[in-house]
């Protein structure tokens, strides 16, 4: 079929058919993703239940500490646990995707140094693992909603689009960190740290509108808004707010400038991530 398929290798030559190549290797992508999913819970007694247990414990603890002990306000009359859950799911996805992606290329060093394929497949397939975990963990949300008799609105239909946004938000930094980890293993130390911090920096345990009110209360309306906009540079703020808007429904006031800001930054990070990854991936085999 490809009788005249010709390949030219030259230094610095941008692979003209990169995206076509990527498509050509889709089977490898799927099979690597499948491998990672299968292997993740091999020889564990609880198996896939771990994907539920981890976020469930986090939700419980954060609800008790922030909702009960600290007495922070939820959004409208939404149960605090559901509010935390709506944020914990995308956050956990992001955190998992980032840590798994950053390790993925190094963990697959044997493949990288022996076989050619578009390297982007590796972090991408590890993101699929996080996505599977995320989908399984969604059952927590369903269970909580049933428990509290909390019914979603039509806004829930926006969820798939928001999941795509979450994937983009995770993949951008993921690609950058992956490429950096290949050369500087320092990022292996850094990422768990970042993830730990991020849980508190991102509006997971509390509502961003509560945050917004508090900043405005301290600084006044205009500087407060500006300061909150700065806070929204964090792409996960947009994703989490989006999730809450879709899941919690009615009572929530949506602050559009912050969401757009997150959106722009997510897109910028994704573009830069792809650019940087492609620029460095050609040398992966030499430096890994």
């Amino acid at each position: 079929m490809e009788a005249a398929h010709k390949l030219i290798l030259e230094p610095g030559r941008a692979t003209k058919n990169y995206w076509r190549d990527l498509f050509h290797y889709r089977e490898l992508f799927l099979i690597l993703a499948w491998r990672d999913v299968i292997v993740r819970y091999k020889q564990t007694a609880a198996g896939l239940a771990w994907a539920v247990l981890q976020p469930l414990m986090s939700i419980l603890i954060l609800t008790v500490i922030f909702g009960q002990v600290a007495g922070l306000k939820s959004e409208g009359n939404v149960p605090y646990a559901i509010m935390v859950c709506a944020a914990m799911l995308p956050w956990q996805f992001f955190a998992n995707a980032l840590s798994l992606a950053s390790q993925s290329v190094v963990n697959n060093a044997n493949l990288i140094s022996k076989i050619y394929f578009p390297r982007m497949i590796v972090p991408a397939s590890s993101t699929v693992v996080s996505l599977v975990d995320f989908l399984v963990a969604c059952s927590i949300l369903a269970a909580l909603m049933l428990w509290y008799h909390f019914w979603p609105t039509w806004r829930l239909l926006a969820l798939p689009a928001l999941v795509v946004l979450a994937i983009a938000a995770a993949l951008g930094p993921g690609l950058i960190v992956t490429a950096l980890t290949v050369r500087y293993r320092d990022f292996r130390m850094l990422i768990p740290f970042v993830v730990q911090f991020g849980l508190y920096v991102c509006p997971v345990a509390y509502s961003s509108s509560v945050m917004h009110e508090k900043i405005v209360g301290k600084l006044g309306q205009a500087p407060g808004d500006r300061c909150f906009l700065l806070y929204s540079l964090n792409p996960m703020v947009g994703v989490i707010d989006g999730f809450r808007w879709a899941i919690l429904g009615g009572s929530r006031a949506f602050y559009w400038p912050a969401f757009v800001m997150s959106l722009v930054l997510t897109a910028a990070l994704l573009c830069f991530g792809i650019y940087y990854f492609r620029k460095t991936e050609r040398a992966f085999a030499d430096i890994i």
Binding site: A4, L7, I8, L9, E10, R35, V39, L111, I115, D186
Partner: protein
């Protein structure tokens, strides 16, 4: 397929002035993030001093920016100025000692790393086999690994499904398909891995040293499979240290030495050159355990004049000089003559009686009869040993020499491999 031109005349691989440079001592181990930050922080200063060099943000490739030389410290060329072509259906052997650049070449051809200079053109689907069982996951079952490994080597799911039974039969692991491969014996593991690779159907197959695994029987099976693949008209590039394999399978060989292509020609000639070139680097010879027993071994004519090319009907004399002070009674000098594929032609040994000598030298002479060795190149395997007790010293392929045809009955076949000894048999009635 093109119809206007003969496909045989079109090379499927064309390599032009290929070069690959590696920078030693970089990477995270020695060139951590700290250096980059340091570089980055001091870059404006350097840029200020030497504006023409421009800011070099972070110097991520490990070069030292602004120190005048664009040639980074500790850089070396793993490949330099390599050009060759490979035609459709050729089986090309690539030989050379360790570090000659063979594996680097394969890595460039299989797109794992990119060249620093030069250009490669490849026509057709390439599969490269730089390792057996790349990507095998110990936790997955045999069956799952077949699909995983197949996909990694570039087979589609449909293709693997179609060949699945064949692969399993070849590997002889039918009973263990649902067992995780971490429970496999190493033999089973290698067999399964090779079986997947053996069922690849690319236009061009690139193989690195893969045949050096498994037991003798399995190796034979692999060789047969490779022969089959070659007979189907596929192009094969094969890196090997087993020169016998190269001589048997390939129709052309490349000899690499220190990153350059030293010779490109028929296997027998290239293998001879390989030995000739190792002769000129005695310090690199494969000798083990050299404790200075042997001072020299020199081939001469019967009058004692050194020479290393003999006619097939001449006597070949070897003078051995041994260090007499090291010899003890009961030691033997073992001598084997090996041909260019390091096949042993014959062996003999002599008991060494230590004699004290003023210049610490003890001589012995060995003569190989005329009309015995067939034309070709040979070398000596020399072993100084105490039988059934200890080997004191080994010299591999020492003192190489050549036997040329001075007009034998098979003179017209000189250069082809028709055996190592001449026949003393007699014909009648022909």
């Amino acid at each position: 397929m093109r119809t206007s031109s003969d496909p045989m005349s079109d090379p499927v691989i064309r390599v032009d002035n290929l070069a690959k440079q590696y920078v030693l001592g970089t990477g995270a181990s020695s060139d951590g993030l700290r250096h980059v930050i340091q570089n980055f922080a001091t870059a404006p200063m350097r840029w200020f001093k030497n504006p023409s060099s421009g800011p070099d943000p972070g110097a991520p490739d490990g070069r030292e920016p602004g120190n005048g030389s664009r040639n980074p410290r500790g850089a070396f060329w793993a490949l330099k100025d390599v050009s060759f072509e490979v035609g459709q259906g050729e089986v090309l052997g690539i030989i050379g000692r360790n570090g000659a650049g063979k594996s680097t070449l394969l890595k460039i051809l299989s797109r794992i790393t990119e060249p620093t200079e030069g250009r490669v053109e490849i026509t057709g689907r390439v599969a490269s086999l730089l390792e057996v069982g790349t990507g095998f996951h110990p936790e997955l079952t045999g069956q799952e690994n077949v699909f995983l490994n197949g996909a990694i080597l570039g087979m589609s799911r449909g293709e693997i499904k179609k060949k699945f039974d064949e692969i399993v039969a070849f590997a002889e692991v039918e009973k263990f398909l649902d067992t995780p491969v971490k429970r496999y014996s190493s033999g089973m593991y290698v067999r399964l891995a090779f079986a997947v690779a053996a069922h690849l159907e690319p236009d061009i197959l690139i193989v690195d040293e893969v045949l050096a695994v498994g037991d003798a029987q399995f190796q034979k099976k692999c060789m047969e499979k490779m022969d089959q693949v070659a007979k189907l008209g596929r192009t094969i590039l094969l890196v090997t240290h087993q020169l016998g394999v190269a001589a048997k399978m390939c129709n052309r060989c490349l000899l690499f030495n220190k990153g350059t292509l030293r010779m490109n020609g028929p296997p027998a000639a290239v293998i001879n050159e390989y030995y000739a070139s190792s002769e000129s680097h005695p310090e690199e010879s494969d000798s083990r355990r050299q404790h200075g027993f042997l001072k020299s071994a020199v081939t001469t004519d019967p009058t004692g004049r050194p020479k290393n090319t003999f006619r097939h009907d001449e006597l070949i004399t070897v003078h051995f000089s041994l260090r007499s002070s090291k010899l003890q009674s009961g030691m033997f000098l073992g001598v084997s003559v090996k041909d260019y594929l390091e096949r042993r032609v014959f062996s003999d040994q002599v008991r060494l009686e230590p004699q004290s000598a003023a210049d610490d030298t003890q001589e012995c002479v060995f003569t190989i009869p005329r009309l015995f060795l067939a034309p070709g190149s040979y070398g000596f395997l020399l072993v100084i040993h105490t039988p059934r007790a200890r080997v004191h010293e080994i010299h591999e392929m020492a003192s190489r020499f050549k036997v040329v045809d001075g007009g034998s009955s098979l003179a017209e076949f000189e250069g082809t491999d028709y055996g190592c000894v001449q026949s003393p048999g007699l014909w009648k009635g022909a």
